[in-house]
């Protein structure tokens, strides 16, 4: 089993590094002022947004036990805290964890 885990870890890391490595190779030929660069910039932000939306809306693991309405409310409240604290990133993150555990226990 142990050697199995090591192999799985290596396979996972290779599958991950592959995209990073190919990215550098492609980047060698792409100027930061080109259209291609701007397109990839859009793709990077949109795939990130898609990923994050998926984590919140269709979570796996412990978040999936929370009702989606509660998740939604926690996200909205945390974004409000983000704006109130002048775009501080520490407060909304800590706030979200506290408010979520309160909601999941008392609602």
């Amino acid at each position: 089993m142990t050697s199995n885990i090591i192999i799985v870890i290596i396979v996972t890391s290779l599958a991950t590094y592959l995209s990073r490595f190919l990215g550098v190779i492609s980047a060698e030929k792409i100027k930061e002022t080109s259209k291609m660069f701007r397109w990839f910039n859009c793709l990077a932000y949109s795939t990130l947004a898609a990923l994050i939306a998926r984590i919140v809306i269709f979570p796996s693991g412990s978040l999936s036990e929370i009702d989606y309405l509660i998740r939604f409310v926690v996200v909205i409240l945390s974004v409000i805290v983000f704006y109130i604290t002048k775009k501080n990133l520490v407060y909304p993150t800590i706030f979200s964890a506290i408010i979520l555990s309160l909601f999941s226990n008392y609602l």
């Binding site: 089993m1 142990t2 885990i5 192999i7 799985v8 870890i9 996972t12 890391s13 599958a15 991950t16 590094y17 995209s19 990073r20 490595f21 190919l22 990215g23 550098v24 492609s26 980047a27 060698e28 792409i30 930061e32 701007r38 397109w39 990839f40 910039n41 859009c42 793709l43 990077a44 932000y45 949109s46 795939t47 990130l48 947004a49 898609a50 990923l51 994050i52 939306a53 998926r54 984590i55 269709f58 979570p59 796996s60 693991g61 412990s62 978040l63 036990e65 926690v74 974004v79 983000f82 775009k87 990133l89 520490v90 993150t93 800590i94 979200s96 964890a97 979520l100 555990s101 226990n105």
Partner: protein, 234 residues
């Protein structure tokens, strides 16, 4: 070799109001606890974060091990969920490339590309001379990567004390951090549209194919945003 002044400047990005340390720490503590429950040793858990350093990939790995998927299936599933790193790398590295810098720095430091380090670099690169950006980036990468590795170990050791409520709290921190950072990054029409359309299309495509939803949703959202942005910027 590496300009220590810029390296340290990048390294310090884990301090202060924009710090990713809490968000990163929270999610990798959860990963450490998860890996322990899956039967990993502490060395294997640390090794995993050390080598992969991409959260969704590690989660897929854990799920696949749990259901006993084959190696090739694990490879494909991880590649699919981490393929977002490709456009992220292509849209970051041209900003860092400079003829005076050796190539190995780029091929080695691309390992540090993950959502939090990428968003920090995107937020700060304009303040750094182009020639020094790669050293600044290696500083950011080393700092965020170290936080991830240390947190994995902490999560592994603390797993007995992490009850369900704490794990749920830990699980929300990272998405909230990313959402706030993305909102902070929405400064041009193209990026605004990319983020908004990606948020809608990613989950929408989930109904068609959960595995491909991020890539398809992202590709279509980003391409629409690109064309609309190009048309309106002229």
């Amino acid at each position: 070799m590496i300009d220590i002044k810029y390296f340290l400047k990048g390294f310090k990005s884990i301090k202060g109001v924009g710090s990713p340390a809490i968000a990163l720490g929270a999610s990798f503590i959860a990963i450490g606890a998860l890996l322990k429950n899956l039967g990993f040793s502490i060395q294997e858990s640390i090794f995993s974060t050390f080598l992969t350093y991409a959260l969704p990939g590690s989660l897929i790995m854990a799920e696949s091990l749990f259901i006993g998927a084959s190696l090739i299936n694990i490879f494909i599933a991880v590649w699919l969920v981490n393929a977002r790193l490709y456009p992220m790398t292509v849209s970051l590295m041209p900003l860092l490339m400079h003829e005076n810098q050796p190539r190995w720095k780029y091929y080695l430091s691309c390992h540090f590309i993950a959502v939090s380090s990428w968003l920090i670099m995107k937020d700060n690169y304009k303040n750094i001379e182009k020639e020094n950006r790669i050293d600044f980036w290696i500083g950011i990468g080393t700092a965020t990567w170290s936080v991830a590795i240390i947190s994995t170990a902490v999560g592994y050791m603390a797993s007995d004390f992490l009850n369900k409520d704490i794990l749920i709290g830990l699980a929300i921190i990272n998405p909230i951090y990313f959402i706030c950072m993305m909102i902070g990054a929405m400064k041009t029409l193209q990026i605004c549209l990319s983020v908004i359309l990606g948020t809608i299309l990613g989950p929408a495509f989930y109904f068609i194919s959960p595995e491909w939803s991020i890539l398809f949703g992202g590709l279509i959202a980003g391409t629409i945003a690109f064309f609309v942005g190009e048309k309106n910027d002229k």
